[in-house]
């Protein structure tokens, strides 16, 4: 080996691992062939492949990650031939898609290049990225990615990984496509829907364990299962709806009742799961993509413009501006009321939407009363100003669903109330945590008292 390039190769190996196998060595040699000085070539390779390795597990994946490394076993792989569009220079014509799994979960991937492995093999991918595709996280392997086969991996075997991973409900997210869980049925209702022109029975409801609740839909009958049943599901599908995961029970899903003996060993019971959710920190809510049926409490620090009386299209319920619906044109609007407010608990802030029923409750005025105010006052913002005067600074607790977007957390309230925890008890607890008065401080403020200590 050339003495001049050896130290650089060594450094690259230290930073990036086995550079022969991953093709980094070839890239480096290519640069040298173009008469790039070894020093500069090394720098640019380091920049490109990242000197600092970011190694992720499947459970860590979220939308729009770049430049990370991941290792997993291929559970499934197939190829789709893509006909290049006419007139377009020939680009990649085959897309490989499949499922990659590690001990933390499995994820759908797509690759523009042929992979050095097939079903059952473990592969290592550097410079991978993720994107959201049909509301689901997808691991993407692009031209820039380096893929190598790992022959001696300690990852669980194919048979083990093929079982859908058992999850706590709070860990179910956009990266999952098939899961297993043990949970309790909290709500359940039957309805009939038309599927491809055929009346079909569908069961929908809510599942819960000690970590979270999630909505579910069953497309098959669930004999002997009712509210309060604790069930084990295997191979259920996860669907994303409005940013919220929902569990789909299909004909391929195994559902069984958990017997009383086994239920005894669980950390939750129907009663503990069915209890109203306790308020959680907004900071914690903000750390998740979405949360179903949770509670939070804080101060209304701002009532947002657009709160108050609005007009909706009678056809589609869209908010109507100047009697014009952007789909149905000129319409006779139907009046409605809503409040959008920022709730802040000192750890985080979120935008909360209160639909009419709740808006009337927390405002203390009905839509009709608000309308009277609107017509009796010359200011067009009379209702908004009134809302601000009544709500700004107030304490509210809310229960509903949260989802995270570009502008932070949005929360749709399904109920709202004034928190009523006992301040005197909290003060006693605080004084306990603060500990006894410091002696020197007591003597300082006690004034006339004589301190013999």
């Amino acid at each position: 080996m050339d003495e001049k390039i050896a130290p650089h190769l060594e450094e690259l190996t230290r930073a990036l691992g086995d550079i022969e196998k991953t093709g980094i060595r070839a890239e480096f040699d290519k640069l040298l062939a173009f008469r790039v000085p070894p020093e500069v070539a090394k720098e640019s390779i380091l920049r490109k492949f990242g000197g600092k390795r970011k190694i992720l597990k499947v459970k860590d994946l979220s939308a729009a990650l770049k430049n990370f490394e991941i290792t997993g076993r291929i559970l499934d792989i197939g190829e789709k031939a893509i006909r290049p569009q006419e007139g377009v220079k020939e680009g990649p014509s085959k897309l490989y898609t499949g499922v990659l799994a590690d001990e933390t979960g499995s994820v759908v991937f797509s690759s523009w290049k042929e992979l050095p492995g097939s079903v059952g093999d473990v592969i290592n991918i550097r410079n991978a990225y993720t994107r959201l595709w049909q509301n689901r996280i997808r691991l993407s392997i692009g031209e820039q990615s380096l893929v190598s086969k790992v022959s001696d991996s300690s990852l669980p075997q194919l048979s083990e990984l093929s079982q859908s991973p058992a999850k706590k409900l709070i860990d179910v997210g956009a990266a999952d496509f098939s899961i297993g869980a043990v949970a309790c049925i909290l709500q359940l209702s039957h309805r009939e829907v038309l599927i491809r022109g055929k009346q079909s029975k569908v069961i929908s409801g809510v599942l819960g364990d000690e970590t979270a609740r999630l909505p579910f839909t069953a497309w098959v009958e669930l004999p002997g299962i009712d509210i309060g049943s604790i069930i084990r599901i295997e191979g259920a599908q996860v669907r994303m709806f409005r940013g919220m995961p929902s569990i789909n029970i299909l004909s391929s899903t195994k559902v069984s009742s958990v017997g009383p003996e086994e239920a005894e060993k669980l950390v939750f019971t129907f009663e503990s799961v069915a209890k109203d959710p306790a308020p959680m920190k907004i900071e914690e809510i903000a750390s998740r993509d979405s949360m179903f049926d949770i509670a939070a409490a804080g101060n209304v620090v701002s009532v947002r413009p657009g709160s108050g009386i609005i007009s909706r299209c009678p056809e589609c319920s869209r908010v109507v501006q100047k009697a014009n619906c952007r789909v149905h044109g000129k319409v006779e609007g139907v009046r409605d009321m809503r409040i959008k407010a920022v709730l802040d608990d000192g750890t985080g802030a979120m935008s909360v939407m209160f639909p009419r029923g709740l808006a009337e409750t927390i405002y203390g005025k009905t839509l009709e009363e608000a309308e009277q105010l609107m017509f009796s006052d010359i200011s067009k913002d009379a209702v908004y100003e009134d809302l601000r005067r009544i709500l700004t600074g107030r304490y509210l607790a809310v229960r509903g669903n949260s989802s995270k977007g570009e502008y932070g957390v949005s929360f749709v309230a399904e109920s709202a109330w004034v928190p009523e925890d006992d301040l005197a008890v909290r003060v006693v607890e605080l004084l306990h945590r603060l500990g006894p008065d410091d002696e020197d401080y007591v003597s300082e403020v006690s004034g006339g008292g004589i301190n013999l200590a």
Binding site: V267, T269, E271, S272, A278, P279, I282, E283, N299, V301, S302, V342, D344, D345, G346, T347, G348, A349, S351, R388, R389, T392, G393, R394, Y395, E406, Y407, G408, P419, E420, D421, D422, L423, A424, V425, R426, V427, V428, E429, L430, L431, H432, R433, L434, G435, D437, D438, Y441, V445
Partner: protein, 289 residues
């Protein structure tokens, strides 16, 4: 529009001891962004810009050559905030032009630091929105703010006791469940102060005293009920141990010591609601941590 910045809960005593958080100590990408807010850091490592305060408006003056600026003083149990609102804060200015002194008010605003000459530092709040509230909201704010300050004090003492500094300290705190921002703040604050425990001690004393000044409606005028509650709390702490205690057995134990059953229920309900206690199994009560 950017993601809305959280409004920190902080007592006047900790707020006025804040100093500017130097840009160099912040991450490179953040410092490069000229839109990033002016951040302050407290001696306990609280990093803040927006604050939410509830207190008593005790003074209000219009200042400036054309009286175009309002200056207000808002008092909490530990000290006072100086608040300004000018023509660029129309919502707050309109509020100050109508409010009567004294009043309980709630206010959001951004922290401002002004250093006319080295060594003399003025810290104030530039008001955003404000409203008149009642005493119940003020009391609740004091308790919330005290809880968050005590969380911080505990993390801070833990940090000092660990003996770690810098990056190791940050990792240690994260491991202990401290939020990323506070872990960063504490490791910066500890470097800044020569005798970091002094302020912590003063703040503890101040909060203790402040909490004792709270006046909870009629129920505590005798103090008897508060004493009973304290007794119930101590008894629960004693009896529940690491494993928790059967609720019915605990009620019996408290009642046999002369505490009315409804007081026991009230205390337990409030501890559960506040998250200090939880039910690992139905009918079992256990302290968190």
């Amino acid at each position: 529009m950017l993601k809305r910045e959280v409004a920190k809960r902080v007592f006047a005593k900790e707020f006025e001891a804040c100093r500017e958080l130097e840009k160099s100590t912040r991450s490179a990408s953040e410092a490069a962004d000229s839109k990033s807010p002016n951040l302050l850091i407290s001696p306990l490592g609280l990093i803040l810009n927006r604050v939410f305060i509830v207190g008593v408006l005790t003074e209000l003056d219009s200042i400036g050559t054309q009286n175009e600026m309002w200056k207000a003083r808002i008092v909490d149990p530990t000290g006072a905030f100086t608040v300004y609102a000018g023509q660029f804060q129309p919502d707050a200015s309109i509020f100050f032009s109508t409010v009567q002194v004294p009043a309980f008010i709630a206010l959001t605003g951004k922290a401002r630091i002004y250093e006319p000459e080295p060594g003399s530092i003025f810290i104030s709040v530039r008001a955003e929105e404000a409203n008149v509230v009642d005493e119940e909201i003020r009391n609740r704010w004091v308790v919330d703010t005290a809880e968050q300050a005590v969380d911080r004090l505990e993390a801070f003492s833990d940090a000092l006791a660990s003996g770690y500094r810098g990056e190791t300290l940050r990792e240690y705190l994260l491991e202990r469940g401290v939020s990323e921002e506070l872990a960063e703040g504490i490791s910066i604050a500890i470097e800044k102060e020569r005798v970091p425990q002094v302020f912590a001690k003063q703040l503890r004393a101040s909060i203790r005293q402040g909490l004792r000044t709270l006046n909870f409606e009629a129920e505590d005028t005798t103090g008897a009920k508060a004493d009973q509650k304290e007794f119930v709390l101590e008894l629960l702490r004693e009896m529940s141990g690491g494993k928790g205690i059967d609720y019915a057995a605990f009620v019996d134990a408290a009642v046999s010591r002369g505490i009315p059953e409804e007081v026991v229920e009230e205390v337990v309900r409030s501890l559960l609601a506040g998250g200090q206690c939880y039910e690992p199994r139905i009918g079992i009560i256990r302290f968190v941590g």
